[in-house]
Symmetry: C2
Subunit: 282 residues, 2 copies
């Protein structure tokens, strides 16, 4: 990379040999320089976040929507209009180069609820009146699940987690409404209680499951056809377990059709400076 | 009471013989009819809340202040402008008579940070553009403390809990700033770990202590002279343990001087329809 920088050539950096061991600031620098990859497994021990940026005029209703739907929309931090870093994004380091407009590997831009662009650098679409919400991500509890002996099948298979739009509506806030989106993990029936127990310790990153066992009760017709992510890995004896998902704000954007909203692309998360362990209770 | 109603006489009802066994709706009705008492011990098992209502134009910054300071300002619910009930205040019951403007025993009205009135019925000061925040209250974890064998000395003594303005500033949000306010309970040194363990299970109602043992570290010069509530009860061998306090939003109002803010009077809380147990994790 340093030779690239010296030559002034704008070439995206390659994937480092051990992304799990990178510090968040170093990883974000790679993404700012153009690397566009999913972040699962990057920067072990650091919390990753969904993001959604909306105009200041919608900020209260967006924060209210999150507060009223804390399982799918647990807010880790908020960057007010004009702020590009702060709090869990470089807030503790006065010399931080963090920038919410460049440090996510891949962004999605929605206008009136329609996806109009997918970009590695959001500065061309950013506005000074955008307020950015950082929303907890279930990646945080996948490592504790593994440590407790609960297999996380999509990780082992090298796939993205399957996500589904449910028939359950979130509690609306003003003009904002939308369905609950869930992620699904197949869990051996003998370990379902352990999966509940472990994830309930992480309320700030979706917490305990919202449903165990019956996809139909959530209006999910075909488990094999998720709305986002990859098809599920289910082994004999697995029970489908559903957790609230940070893609819910994107479903809200699609239904509520705000003038503009900028989000991460699913799986391409913001890597924060907060430790996963900071979100464990008690 | 029914005879009072029949006669059309506006006379405040008396304190019922067993306020702990009342349902929240029944208790709120008494307060709406003019009963003005502290609510400690009322409606056992139901969560009580601090309240703060601010104009819609300040609602985002107030919610952001709460989000950035979740230990003193854990939001249980928000009533948007024009809503007088909803969510944990009668939201599950279409026939509910709950009304945020009358159902708190005693209100405080602040104009530009100055306390200008203390009233049992806030309708004369209410505005249709006020947004009301319901903030968790440490009453919720006092019963679990007692059950775990940790004495709660101010309860036994029939006093209000002592509260102190600290030298620690909250993380600001826009034009809103203010100091952290804490409540203090004296805990026998052998039981401090239990007090931490039990209260950490209730992150939505202030959670684990913010400090154990040294009032000076919080800028508290004289434990015997609290800023709010009653002087403390400390027995030999007690360690002063400090929890973040829901009076913090009132200290923020005093420092930030918004045009108008309406709060409860300390100790005179809103009794919600939410169960205390709903806030226990995991």
């Amino acid at each position: 990379m340093s030779s690239t920088e010296r030559q002034g050539v704008r070439q995206a950096p390659g994937v480092p040999s051990d992304p799990a061991s990178l510090a968040p600031e170093a990883a974000r620098r790679l993404f700012a320089e153009g690397l566009t990859v999913p972040t699962s497994g990057w920067c072990a021990g650091y919390a990753q976040a969904n993001i959604i940026a909306v105009p200041r005029g919608l900020a209260f209703e967006t924060l209210l929507f999150a507060q009223r739907n804390p399982k799918p929309c647990p807010i880790l931090d908020v960057l007010d209009a004009g702020e590009v870093r702060g709090g869990v994004l470089g807030g503790a380091d006065p010399g931080s180069h963090a920038d919410i407009r460049t440090d996510v590997p891949l962004y999605r831009v929605y206008e009136r609820g329609e996806l109009v662009a997918e970009v590695a650098d959001a500065r061309g679409h950013w506005r000074d009146d955008l307020v950015t919400f950082l929303v907890g991500c279930s990646f945080t509890f996948e490592h504790p699940l593994l440590e407790a002996g609960v297999p996380v099948r999509h990780l082992t298979a090298g796939r993205n987690v399957p996500m589904y739009v449910t028939s359950r509506q979130c509690r609306p806030a003003g003009q904002l409404s939308g369905p609950l989106v869930v992620s699904m993990r197949g869990v051996p029936s003998a370990l379902v209680a352990d999966a509940v127990r472990v994830t309930s310790r992480y309320p700030a990153v979706h917490g305990a499951p919202v449903h165990v066992g019956d996809p139909g009760a959530l209006g999910i017709g075909d488990l094999a056809a998720p709305d986002f992510g990859d098809p599920p890995v289910l082994e004999p004896g697995d029970v489908p377990v559903f957790w609230a998902c940070g893609v819910t704000p994107q479903a809200m954007v699609m239904e509520s059709r705000p003038e503009i909203a900028i989000t991460h692309a699913p799986g391409h998360m913001l890597i924060t400076d907060a430790r996963d362990s900071a979100y464990a209770v008690p």
